[in-house]
């Protein structure tokens, strides 16, 4: 089998350039520390006659409803820091096209 040196070189260069193109530096993921004494499970003792009409789970959605917070938060040290702000999502189709 003949090995085409030129093709191998082109492949190597393209792989290296792709890696360099994508590389953005160091990535670090930090998770919030858990409560010190976390109970395994919530045990809810229902009083007689009490009815649980439904259960829902909190979540995050790309389509968040925009409701104003009229009350000043208890403590928001993060929000008082410079260069810290809520993420602003843009609708699809706005801005430059991604070229992957």
């Amino acid at each position: 089998m003949r090995i085409n040196t030129a093709k191998i070189c082109v492949l190597a260069v393209s792989i290296i350039s792709f890696c360099g193109f994508v590389y953005a530096g160091e990535i670090q993921v930090s998770r919030e520390p858990a409560d010190k004494s976390v109970m395994e499970k919530i045990i809810i003792n229902e009083s007689p006659g009490q009815v649980i009409s439904g259960t829902g789970t909190l979540g995050t959605s790309q389509l968040q409803r925009t409701k104003a917070h009229t009350e000043v938060s208890k403590k928001k040290p993060i929000e008082t820091m410079n260069n810290t702000k809520p993420y602003v999502s843009s609708p699809d189709g706005t801005g430059d096209q991604k070229t992957k």
């Binding site: 193109f21 994508v22 590389y23 953005a24 530096g25 160091e26 990535i27 670090q28 993921v29 930090s30 998770r31 919030e32 858990a34 409560d35 004494s37 976390v38 499970k41 919530i42 809810i44 009490q50 009815v51 649980i52 009409s53 439904g54 259960t55 829902g56 789970t57 909190l58 979540g59 995050t60 959605s61 790309q62 968040q64 409803r65 409701k67 104003a68 917070h69 009229t70 009350e71 938060s73 208890k74 928001k76 993060i78 820091m81 260069n83 810290t84 702000k85 809520p86 993420y87 602003v88 999502s89 843009s90 609708p91 699809d92 189709g93 706005t94 430059d96 096209q97 991604k98 992957k100």
Partner: protein, 215 residues
């Protein structure tokens, strides 16, 4: 004499009846409900069960039709993981809820929209470890270049959207973005010199801060 004593007892009886009526209802909430019958407004309870592993600092509920979250139901207290908190005497209707965690690294929220509160029953909202938004922090890791534009958009989106910064970020500076729905995001950094930096498929997790050092 006995007639006077009888009158005094009668007045005392009326007075105690008045007090009993005034303190009716139950719990410890604000305005006591009118009870099950009577034909007035009916009430239910909203319960926030925290199994997230972290402390919830704020809890908001408001009618789905309302444009504001209103006041923090937790007041000056917080809700540790493993515990629940009841908001009693909630008029029946369709509600939205938001819980906020003011973490050591960032701030996060979890939402539930359009759930129904029915009469004389409890709606249970569960806040789990995956219920909250995440955050990203982009750090300029160069010694002499400025970030002039920063784009962060969901990987599913074909476009970059608008820039997340309004002023340039110098060397060692950063931009911290919070309240990001969890998922995969692409990041594009535009420098004042040199080519753009692109980073695809960065995972934003609940209650986590992703720090990206770009150069």
């Amino acid at each position: 004499m006995s007639r006077i004593i009888a009158r005094v007892f009668f007045v005392l009886f009326l007075f105690s009846l008045l007090i009993a009526c005034g303190s009716g209802g139950g719990g410890g909430g604000a305005a006591p409900p009118a009870g099950g019958g009577g034909g007035g407004t009916q009430y239910g309870t909203i319960r926030l069960s925290n199994v997230s592993g972290v402390t919830i600092d704020e809890f908001y509920i408001s009618l789905a039709s309302s444009s504001a979250w209103g006041s923090d139901q937790l007041g000056s207290s917080t809700l540790s993981s493993g515990f629940y908190f009841d908001v009693a005497n909630v008029p029946v209707g369709t509600y939205d809820a938001r819980a906020i965690v003011l973490g050591a690294l960032s701030i996060y929220h979890g939402d539930l929209y359009g759930f129904s509160v029915t009469a004389n029953s409890t709606y249970n909202i569960v806040a789990g470890s995956g219920s909250f938004t995440g955050s990203i922090k982009i750090v300029n890791n160069t010694v002499g270049a400025n970030i002039v534009a920063l784009y962060v958009s969901p990987s599913s989106s074909p476009t970059w959207g608008s820039s997340q910064i309004s002023s340039t970020i110098g060397p060692s500076g950063f931009q911290h973005l919070y309240y990001m729905p969890t998922g995969s995001y692409d990041v594009k950094v535009v420098w004042n010199v040199g080519p753009d930096t692109l980073s695809y498929g960065n995972t934003i997790s609940s209650l986590s801060l992703l720090t990206l050092y770009v150069n």
